[in-house]
Structure formats: structure tokens, C-alpha cells
Symmetry: none
Subunit: 337 residues, 2 copies
């Protein structure tokens, strides 16, 4: 039967440095042990033995340590089923790991309520910062983000008074629009998403429309879909029953893949009958035949930058918002008319 | 480890109240301990000593103990950059959400140390259960998994004394092997992964080899790669410099995409010169030209089942391990020789 050990001043005077010394391990290992990090079983047993022997009370120290450094960053993503977010998240993950941080990920599957509740969940958990891959910024987002007492980085959407990392959607859209106008397309259909996604649904779209109009394209249809492959296929299928565009500009490569599939089913050749353009620059655009003409945003850079900036914020350093550039990928899916 | 095991008559029927009494702590502290909440190190050691002494198995009263719900499930994935894991995770996510649970995701990027440390991190956090998408099971995995005081489901790899959800890798491999033999291929190259991944590197491979041998294929080369697109391209590129197989069987669709790309670059036609087979059945296999012949495992079912089983374990119900079936997808990338 164990006796209750009385708290005693003499008992708790051993330091972390001494624990490391007595256990024959590095101080960083002891620190990792108390921070909940991984240590080998044998090492753990030795640290625990020293703690028991010296009646070490870890909670007093551990509490301060934990409050300051959990080495966890909360990451909120709208999807784990898209090449774009996969690229951003993988690069972000690797970069955070380099500094000993672990990203904890919550997927919202494009659900706004989950996005908001995830912000609150993370703020109650012991994460040191939050990175939000945003699909939209509502007043409710602003309210919650501004009252968080944690460093926050918002990706993909503009927002005042928060550090954001956004793509150069307007310029990329405009270059695509100009390109399509300059190659003399006349009946252009734009497959896009709703305006709740400001970056893709408004900014990127406006760039495309401006580029088309600057180069004299007057017939422009707009088809709205969501980001899913299946919905997009349906929308394109219906449209092709009654329309014959000479170019389809798709707001993402995933939408372009859906259009690719439906153009095939309708017996239309790419690019002879219809030109096709996407935005994304995934691996898959290369293996399509013909290869997809698309815009590549540097998603790896976006992810790495997010990791770097959140660590700067955690360190208390001043940080500015950043815009990520793009490259036109010359495929074989656009032809001069 | 709270996996439901057979109750043993020899076990002492010690109650929570008695544990509290013997350890000299409050009953609520014991409850918090078993719920994964924070208890002082000294208290934890005393509770553990009592449990050891009385051979206490926490699972027997787990149901009553779950007074406090965090409604969070820890999910550990080797990748967030693969179509396979994306499908499993998305289905898993949606199914858990239906019951009000939020999955917290840690990506290990195929790093074993991160996988082990994630298990320990989650066990210290206030999650109600852990789902591990495993790439391998080492003795260290077994040690950690068996001592966890939380419900656990392991996906993709076999493991004793833990509830697992695995694919029917052997049968699927064998059917592919037979198919290739029956269509009279003679010089088959198998693009696979290392044996550390038991499911894909050993079981699936053995199925393929058995299927090929049963149908009289004697010339079989084996190329080892990892799961990445780039490494696989390199491996195939080197091989094609000196070999002319009439069929490439790839252990995943991602490897098949890499092979597709390199066969093209080498001026080889699919399927006229070389037949190509994958395993996965992603959307992308449809948009390849020619469409990829592949095996579709029902990853959505795998994800949904994982969600259902972890909730059963949390509820204290008995749960059995499950095998997930497959379908052959008839593409255009295999031809009769």
C-alpha cells in the first residue's frame, strides 16, 4: 500500500538539467519528455526513475513549459481531397517539422460552420498558432479571428488586420483571358465557382473577364459549379447539350479534368473543336492527352511561407502579408482559331 | 490499450472506488486518469502502481468511465498527398462528423518516428480514440499500441490483438497476376515497394507472383521504388534503357502514372508495346488515354468502417477486424499478346 507523499520544499529542488545528468540523457530529451514528445522506452524509464527518486514534481515546471511550447500548430483546411491543398499542406508540414513543430489538421470539407468551430476548438487546445486555408471570409470569421489570442495566418483569401498569404489570382486570370483572346477564340465559356470564394469566385474570375474583354472577346458564358469533380461534370454535360463553345476556361484543374471527361463523352476533340485551360498545374495536367494548358501557382512556396510566417509570429517578430506568383504552363490544349 | 478482449475470470474485480482509495486520491482523479485527462505525475504513478498490483484491466469499466467527451478522434496518416489516403480520410471524416466527432489529423509523411511520436502525442491529448493508417508495424509500434489506454483501430496493415481494417491485397494481386498470364504476357516487370510495407510490399506482391506463376509466366523482373511519383519515374527510366517488358504491373496507380509518363518518353505505346496495370482505381485512371486497367479497393468503405468501428470501441462494444473487397476496373491498357 502506497503512502501519500507530503509535499515538501526540499523535494522539488532538482532541476531539468540535473534530471538529464542523473538519467544520462541530453537536456533536450528531458524537455521533450515533459513536453509530451517521443522518447525511447528505455530513456523514459530512466527519466521516470530519477523523477521518482528525487520526488520531482513535474507539474509546476511542466505547466509553464506546456503553456509556452506545445510545439503544435493548428491547421484548418477546406479539403484533404484536392491536389492543391495536398501540396500546400505537405510543404507546410515539412517546413514546420524542421523547427520541431507538429501540425494538427482539421478538415472542414468546405463547411463554414466546421471552419468556425475549428478555430474555436484550436483556440481552446494547447496549440501555439493557427493556419487557416480559407475558402471565404465572413463577418463571423472576422469576429472570431480578431478575438483569438493566438498567432494566425490566413491563406488564400484577403483579410484586413490579419497576416495573409494569397495567390496572384487577378494577374493570372488576366493573362489567361488575354491569351485566349489573342488566339482568336470567340465563344468562350468560363466554368467557375460561387462568389463566396472571393479569391477564385471574384478575383480570379474578374481577371479572366478583363483579359478576355481587353482582347475583344464578347461572347462569354459563365457556368457556376462547386469544387467537386462530379458536380462539375454534370454542369458541363448539361451545358454542352445546347451550346458549342470554342474554349472552356476552368477555374481549377479539377474542374478542367471534369470538362475534359465530358468533352470526350460529347465527341468533341481537344483542342481542334474546343480549347481547354485550367488553373493549378498539378502533375495530372501533364499526363492528360493532350497535355493541359494551365497556370501553376507555387503551392509549395505558399505552404513553406505559411510555416515560416507563423513561427515568426510565435517568436513575436513583425510579419507582412505575402502574394505568391504563378507560371503559365504551355500544354497542347489551346489552339489558334 | 482498451481494445475489447475476453474477460478473464482470474482478473481481480477491483472497482474504480477501490483504486481511488488504495492510491489515496479522489475518485474523480481516477476517472480523469482513465479518460486521458491531466493528472499530476506523482498521482499517475500511484494509480498505475495500484492497477499493476491488482492486474486491473481498464476496458472492463471503460463505458462508465467515459463521462467526459472531447468528441475528438486522433487520426495518423502517412500522407496527405495521395489519392488513396485522401479518399479514406475524407470518408472517415464525414462519417465521424455524423456522430458529432471531429478528427484531428497528423501527417507523418512516411516517417516512422513521427508515427510513433504521434501515437504518444494523441494518447496525451484529450482524444477519445486513435485511428492509425499504418505503413508498417514494428515491435515499437506493437509496444506503444498495446499500452495505449485508448480505443485504437489500425488500417491497412495486419496486427495481432488490435482491431484492423485491411484490404484484400493477396486476392486482388493474384487476380491481376492471373489476368496478365491469361493474356499471354511473357516478360513481366513488377514495380513495387519495399517489404517494410507488409500489405503492399509482401502480401500484394505475393498475390501477383502467385497469379503469374499459376498461369505460366516465368520471366518476372522486380523493380523496387518508394511511393513517390518522382522516384518511380527515375526507376522506370533506368530500367527501360536496358529492358523491354511486355507488361508493367504497378503496385499503386501513382506508380502506374509514373510508368505511363516514362513509357511515353521512351516512345513505347500502351498497350500495343507494353501493357500497364495499377492498383487504386482513382478518378485519374479514367482520364488517362488509354484508360488504365486497375484494381479499385473501396477506400470510402474503408474510411467509413474505420469511423464506425472506433465509435463502437468507444461505446465499449465488441468489434472484429474487417477485410475490404475490391473490383477489377477494365481499362484499355492491357492487350492480349
Amino acid at each position: 500500500m502506497m503512502k501519500r507523499i507530503k509535499e515538501d520544499d526540499r523535494m522539488t529542488k532538482i532541476t531539468m538539467k540535473e534530471i538529464a545528468e542523473f538519467a544520462g540523457v541530453g537536456k533536450s530529451t528531458v524537455s521533450r519528455y515533459f513536453n509530451g514528445g517521443y522518447v525511447k522506452e528505455e530513456t523514459r524509464l530512466r527519466i521516470e526513475a530519477v523523477c521518482r527518486e528525487y520526488h520531482y514534481q513535474p507539474n509546476s515546471v511542466a505547466k509553464t513549459l506546456k503553456a509556452r511550447h506545445s510545439y503544435q500548430i493548428g491547421v484548418i483546411t477546406p479539403s484533404i481531397d484536392s491536389r492543391t491543398s495536398a501540396r500546400v499542406l505537405t510543404a507546410l508540414d515539412e517546413q514546420l517539422r524542421l523547427s520541431g513543430y507538429t501540425p494538427l489538421l482539421i478538415n472542414t470539407n468546405h463547411n463554414e460552420i466546421r471552419e468556425l468551430s475549428s478555430l474555436e476548438s484550436f483556440s481552446r487546445m494547447n496549440v501555439e498558432g493557427i493556419i487557416l486555408l480559407a475558402t471565404q471570409i465572413t463577418p463571423e470569421h472576422e469576429r472570431i479571428l480578431h478575438k483569438l489570442r493566438l498567432p494566425v495566418i490566413v491563406l488564400a483569401q484577403e483579410m484586413a488586420n490579419v497576416v495573409t498569404i494569397t495567390l496572384n489570382d487577378y494577374e493570372a486570370g488576366r493573362e489567361v483571358g488575354q491569351r485566349i483572346g489573342q488566339t482568336h477564340h470567340q465563344a468562350v465559356c468560363l466554368l467557375g465557382v460561387s462568389e463566396t470564394d472571393k479569391a477564385v469566385g471574384i478575383t480570379r474570375k474578374q481577371g479572366i473577364l478583363d483579359g478576355l474583354q481587353e482582347t475583344g472577346v464578347s461572347s462569354i458564358d459563365f457556368l457556376e459549379t462547386d469544387f467537386s469533380f462530379e458536380t462539375s461534370r454534370q454542369v458541363v454535360r448539361e451545358y454542352l447539350k445546347t451550346h458549342r463553345p470554342d474554349c472552356l476556361i476552368c477555374a481549377t484543374d479539377n474542374l478542367a479534368m471534369a470538362a475534359f471527361k465530358e468533352l470526350h463523352s460529347a465527341g468533341l476533340r481537344i483542342p481542334q473543336d474546343v480549347s481547354l485551360v485550367g488553373f493549378g498545374g498539378y502533375d495530372v495536367s501533364e499526363v492528360l492527352t493532350p497535355a493541359l494548358t494551365t497556370v501553376r501557382f507555387d503551392y509549395e512556396l505558399e505552404g513553406r511561407t505559411a510555416a515560416e510566417l507563423i513561427l515568426e509570429l510565435i517568436a513575436g517578430n513583425p510579419v507582412e502579408s505575402v502574394k505568391i506568383g504563378y507560371t503559365m504552363i504551355e500544354g497542347e490544349s489551346v489552339i489558334e482559331r
